[in-house]
Symmetry: C2
Subunit: 312 residues, 2 copies
């Protein structure tokens, strides 16, 4: 991949008839608390409640007519599954989603809201690969959750829009799980000459931090975090992009995430999931990288079980 | 008061340097559920987390220089107190807020965030009047929470902006407590020729419904509702305006409010308080007034105790 931004611009044009142009919000109290100017790109207000719609829809829009007719499939315990199903519904493309049976109920419900064809599978990589191998014997295209050029281009449009909404930003900050959103954000930052781009990763799911530090894609230790959207490991594509263009990974523990989540709910009045709140947690835990800066933050999603909030 | 809209336009100009131009959001799922097109004016994103900032700031901006120096005071258990204190802080006007000691902690905290001068008083009308009578012996201007022309003009700017953001609306809907917000909304609706304007009131705090039905301002029965912002009774100003221009009051019980609040959190991803969610509850409980229509809804505020949610 190159660093030109033509493909991101094209993805933005491609998505325009389908996605929500999400607002960018700020809050006096959070600015005062952080000593920075924080601009929150509210992708929790995106279709299906997460930025994932951008990548999924961008990928579907680049399928051939035959591929569209044959349909697509994926494995997802969360927001990618719902996003793909929703994009498929809008574009009349059949979508099958395989869901690990231990996925959070609120995310299963969100997938079921858009998807007619759900297959429950066992948790873990083995069951996932078994499903994909079997499914690939039949017609249909696999749309992976993050490690794919069209997905990354789509996710990049969030940061792209944010920088159009707030051209004065000097820092971009996004959550880091599989690296799709952050890879897109890095490409936008480098293409527009943004000074600093940072990822926030759970301290107990730090495969990206370890991979970037060692210079080699590290197998994930068994991850454990309240950030259920950030438990996946980097892929080859996302590793390559982050290695070339990311300034820094900041590690944040769950307690900090839960505190930040409450601050966002209480002051920004936004329902965001832990995987999004990790960004504000990083700002508050590492003021040396944010103080006095104009920071664009991607609030990645807001699919939370309201009956099982992490502070109860 | 007349029905011309010049004073609302002037209030909007007056507020422009100070308030947040809140976004207007919609959601596919809630549209499908209601059979209407719903546009939510997000005043939970207003300064201090509620529309009340508009009225308070508009009132302060019309004080004389002497009045500004002498300061202002009010009695409030909730959003008006925080709004007045915040507006006072911005305009360098001293503000004293008397707070009943049974006010929700989250609202007390919100007042304390902006106010240096808080006085705790006993709950109820007697203590309230005692405080006001004593306080009026000293210099300073009372800024009441709703029954005042400048307050109503300020609150009207929420509906005014909403109708500029979405000129196709044929129905406006707002919560009904003391009637300040709804009176402003009625004036905007009549001034712009909006077809229908409706208030949503708690079934167990229905003094406005009873007053409008009987044609006489009714004393409130002891109100009881999860909608802590809607327990106040109409005043003479607001009664007169609603009597002349409101189409209908819809009564909603607490269970419906709590269900609607969860829907707004889950799908619109907005932290709103029960007093705001009552609007969506009314839409779902009385489809005959909303089905097929373009409905502008004012989400009045989002100051909620996250540790004491009504569905727990």
């Amino acid at each position: 991949m190159d660093w030109q931004h033509q493909d991101i611009q094209q993805a933005a044009q491609r998505l325009a008839p389908y996605h929500v142009l999400t607002p960018c919000l700020r809050n006096d109290y959070l600015d005062a608390l952080s000593g920075a100017q924080l601009w929150f790109k509210c992708e929790n207000l995106q279709r299906t409640g997460a930025f994932k719609f951008r990548g999924a829809c961008n990928a579907l829009l680049q399928l051939s007519q035959q591929q569209r007719q044959q349909g697509v499939f994926t494995v997802s315990s969360g927001n990618h599954g719902a996003a793909l199903a929703c994009a498929g519904q809008l574009l009349a493309i059949p979508v099958q989603v395989a869901v690990p049976n231990n996925a959070p109920q609120v995310k299963k419900d969100n997938i079921a809201r858009y998807c007619q064809h759900i297959t429950e599978i066992a948790p873990g990589m083995a069951a996932r690969e078994q499903f994909i191998n079997a499914r690939q014997q039949q017609p249909g295209t696999l749309i992976p959750p993050y490690n794919h050029a069209h997905i990354i281009q789509g996710q990049a449009t969030a940061a792209w829009e944010l920088c159009q909404q707030q051209p004065q930003l000097d820092t971009l900050l996004a959550p880091l799980g599989g690296g799709g959103l952050l890879s897109g954000t890095v490409r936008v930052a480098r293409s527009l000459g943004i000074e600093q781009v940072i990822g926030a990763e759970p301290a107990n799911a730090d495969d990206a931090y370890q991979s970037l530090r060692s210079g080699q894609l590290q197998p994930a230790r068994p991850p454990e975090s309240v950030c259920d959207g950030l438990l996946t490991s980097l892929g080859e594509h996302t590793f390559t992009i982050l290695q070339a263009g990311l300034d820094r990974v900041l590690l944040v523990d769950d307690e900090q995430v839960i505190d930040a989540m409450q601050l966002l709910w209480l002051h920004l009045k936004m329902v965001v999931e832990p995987s999004s709140a990790i960004t504000l947690a990083a700002v508050l835990a590492y003021p040396e990288y944010f103080s006095g800066r104009q920071v664009g933050i991607i609030l990645s999603g807001g699919n939370v079980d309201l009956k099982r909030l992490p502070w109860h």
